[in-house]
């Protein structure tokens, strides 16, 4: 090629050698396998063990699942079909129980013609959460978030629209008093009035108002009692209302635990530690067996509501700890900055501290929600028909007595899909928040 140079400086190569293929062990799939699976003897051993484990599990379950029978109306029919298709005693799943009863596992006893109501409520709930969870959305949607609990309640339980409306009015009254009467009776007076007046209103006025409006303008949908709730609907209602109702109490407890007022601090710590120190199942039994003892003689409301109350108290302690983490994570300068602006305690909390602290607490709150949602399975021990409870009811019918795994697999998959999506969201949020702060 370049002969001149070759003559002058014989040992310098002027041109590149043509590029060679990497050796076979260093390219394509083999390279990937070598680097990722068999980089050392320990790694190779682990790979083989893992692969054997996967093979072992699949070989025992895959056929059972894939050849499962979907179309039958009872277990005995399922067995008859199986004997016909695969021979006597073959080991296959009977998914027909899911096809036959999936609506009960999802909705419980909720009337079939009203299934649109919980679905709509769920969509509305998602829509209401969206502006809180994703901050790209217009702030106006927050109005929807405020209205959503009342609308969802009305959709789920039905009845006259005036009941939830009259309750919501109480919050409006409180907010108005707080906003407009500060100039007249001062901040403290306004705060006290904003708490007291709505309570008095709810106690004495809300019922008659709702009744009167209901008589004159009967707008409403078919009322559905708590006893009809079941399956995943029940789990979601308990989980979601537990988290939402516990937010205010949780924030107050977190502030109380940070407070330097001795009594308030100690009571908050006591409350949080007692709730967190005792398992949920004990609290649920307290709700089902003991709550009636603690309330005025004669008062009595249904088990689902008692469970929601207990779950709310329970999760408020956990929310308090999450929010406390958020409060502690805020740089000290934020507190000092608020003080230096001359804001009082409540103003600084409301305008500076809590908005930031709650924002960084959202991943923690989402994980609490996942935990709580999973823990709703424990209500089966107090006789509520959650998914596991309903699976017991389904097994008690003569059609499906004797079926076991199929129901658990379906329930497990549903829980997994929901919780996995939530946990992915909270991880995404954590990543996003981390970049915000660097």
């Amino acid at each position: 090629m370049s002969e001149i140079h070759a003559q002058t400086v014989s040992y310098v190569r002027e041109t590149m050698l043509p590029e060679q293929e990497p050796p076979v062990t260093e390219r394509g799939a083999i390279k990937w396998v070598r680097e990722n699976l068999f980089s050392s003897w320990l790694n190779g051993l682990l790979t083989l063990i893992s692969l054997y484990f996967v093979y072992w599990v699949l070989s025992h379950t895959l056929g059972w699942m894939v050849y499962g029978i979907w179309d039958a109306s009872s277990l005995s029919e399922c067995r008859a079909i199986r004997d016909e298709l695969y021979g006597e005693g073959a080991n296959v799943a009977c998914w027909a129980v899911i096809a036959d009863r999936w609506h009960q596992l999802l909705f419980g006893f909720y009337p079939a013609e009203a299934y649109w109501r919980p679905v709509l409520a769920l969509i509305l709930f998602g829509g209401a959460l969206a502006p809180i969870l994703f901050d790209g959305l217009p702030r106006k949607m927050l109005m929807l978030s405020i209205a959503a609990p009342f609308v969802c309640y009305w959709l789920l339980w039905g009845g006259t629209i005036w009941g939830p409306a009259a309750v919501a009015l109480g919050f409006v009254i409180g907010g108005m008093i707080y906003a407009y009467s500060q100039s007249i009776i001062g901040v403290l007076g306004a705060t006290i009035a904003a708490v007291l007046v709505p309570i008095l209103y709810w106690l004495f006025l809300a019922g008659p108002i709702a009744g009167a409006l209901g008589n004159t303008l009967p707008i409403g949908i078919n009322a559905i009692g708590s006893a009809e709730f079941g399956g995943f609907l029940l789990a979601l209602v308990i989980g979601a209302s537990g988290i939402i109702l516990s937010m205010p109490l949780g924030v107050v407890l977190a502030l109380g635990r940070q407070s330097d007022l001795f009594i308030i601090n100690k009571f908050s710590v006591l409350f949080i530690e007692v709730i967190r120190g005792v398992p949920l199942i004990v609290w649920l039994f307290t709700a089902s067996l003991l709550l009636n003892y603690f309330l005025p003689p004669g008062s009595n409301f249904d088990l689902m509501l008692r469970v929601i109350i207990m779950v709310t108290l329970f999760s408020s302690a956990y929310i308090a700890e999450v929010v406390r983490g958020g409060l502690a994570a805020l740089p000290r300068g934020q507190y000092e900055g608020a003080d230096s602006l001359g804001l009082n305690y409540w103003q600084s909390m409301q305008l500076i501290i809590l908005p930031q602290a709650l924002k960084i607490s959202i991943p923690g709150i989402v994980s609490s929600f996942i935990g709580l949602f999973k823990d709703t399975t424990l209500v089966v021990f107090v006789g509520l028909s959650d998914p596991i409870g309903f699976s017991n009811l389904i097994r008690a019918t003569t059609d499906w007595n004797g079926i076991y795994w199929e129901l658990f697999i379906f329930i497990g998959l549903c829980f997994f899909m929901f919780c996995f999506a939530m946990s992915r969201y909270s991880q995404y949020l954590e990543r996003k928040l981390r970049t915000d702060h660097r």
Binding site: L75, S76, R79, D100, R101, Q104, G108, F109, P111, A112, Y153, W157, G159, G163, P164, V167, I199, W202, A206, G207, G225, S226, A227, L245, S246, L249, F271, F285, S288, L289, N292, G298, S299, N300, F301, D302, L303, L305, I309, T312, L313, V380, F381, V382, G383, L384, S385, G389, S391, N392, L393, I394, R395, A396, T397, T398, D399, N401, G402, Y404
Partner: protein, 338 residues
């Protein structure tokens, strides 16, 4: 804490159940439906079907009481209760009556302050073993591993039975019937013990029922009956006499098919009194004159109820046994309607 209790009370004021006081009938009538406590699922006795309606032997009794009060057998709210929560649910007024496989015992009647109004099923604790074990009597069970459902009288009976016969055993307590069944079939216990009716129901659903035998020994008396709270005798009377009406109806040959025909008037004065064409038994209970007629028309007489839910033509296939009329050698004996 107070705030959320308060808000909850308020928000669901419309759903609140009635007060636990002495006017149960008035409350039930005001509410428009009967709250009836049932099990969290027991084959043949209480379970929801594919369209969510409760069915079963105990459920039938609830429906009969609802029919007697309202003339409408669907005016019932079924409240599933576990072995642990049932008594609290009744005592607190969450349910008006329990029709839930509850054994009538002294301490429940006296100490826990409930009123058993009768017996709708005479049961007893039995044992089921795989045929392959070659056991023919419960006396041969020394050293066996026994699956029991917790939270019932069965575990006490079991302890008494084995210690009084100087035998040892290993209890395996299980929370639900479904798990007990699974454990037993997998051979994790040699024996499954529960009420004989439950054993029959469980055995009927096995792939091969003939591979399991129910041993002849019945080691306890389990009179299962509906119960109400102490202190409201009017209400107890309604439940008691609805049950008695179903039993008497079978004795007298009143069925859901012929009840309307018989209600036109018959030669038998007792039938006439039950069906309200003679006398005023309904008014004495504070109910409509057609109370028993409605109950029988809704669910049939005791025999029909038995046959359609747990009888020999159902998969459960229980024989009448002790639950036959006294005229057929059983224990069912309704006091006279007069």
């Amino acid at each position: 804490m107070k705030k959320s209790v308060f808000l909850g009370t308020l928000a669901v004021a419309g759903l609140a159940a009635g007060f636990a006081s002495a006017q149960t009938l008035a409350e039930v009538q005001a509410r428009g439906s009967l709250n009836c406590g049932v099990t969290t699922g027991l084959t043949g006795f209480a379970a929801p079907n594919a369209s969510g309606e409760w069915e079963g032997f105990d459920v039938g009794l609830c429906r009969a009481v609802a029919a007697a009060i309202f003339g409408d057998a669907t005016a019932v709210e079924f409240v599933p209760t576990t072995g642990q929560t049932r008594f609290t649910a009744l005592a607190s007024g969450e349910v008006d009556m329990l029709a839930r496989n509850t054994t009538w015992t002294f301490s429940r009647d006296v100490d826990l302050a409930f009123e058993f109004v009768g017996v709708n099923y005479y049961d007893g604790q039995g044992f089921m073993v795989p045929r392959a074990l070659n056991v023919s009597s419960a006396m041969e069970l020394d050293g066996a591993t026994v699956c029991i459902q917790t939270g019932t009288t069965t575990e006490l009976n079991l302890a008494d039975f084995f210690s009084s016969n100087n035998m040892s055993y290993e209890p395996v307590p299980i929370e639900t019937n479904a798990e007990a069944q699974q454990q037993y079939l997998a051979g994790a216990c040699d024996v499954y013990t529960t009420d004989a009716s439950g054993l029959a129901a469980t055995r009927a659903t096995f792939e091969d029922p003939s591979a399991h035998v129910v041993l002849p020994e019945i080691v306890s008396k389990e009179p299962l009956g509906p119960l109400v709270r102490h202190g409201d005798n009017e209400w107890a009377d309604i439940v008691r006499w609805t049950l008695n009406a179903l039993i008497a109806a079978e004795e007298l040959g009143i069925t859901s098919a012929n009840v309307n025909e018989l209600a036109a008037g018959t030669e038998n004065p007792e039938i006439n009194r039950i069906l309200g064409t003679e006398g005023d038994l309904g008014a004495m209970l504070g109910l409509d004159a057609a109370w028993a007629r409605n109950a029988i028309a809704a669910v049939g007489n005791y025999g029909e109820l038995f046959e359609s839910n747990i009888g020999e033509n159902t998969p459960i296939g229980l024989a009448r046994g002790l639950n036959a009329q006294w005229t057929d050698g059983g224990l069912l004996y309704s006091p006279p309607f007069r």
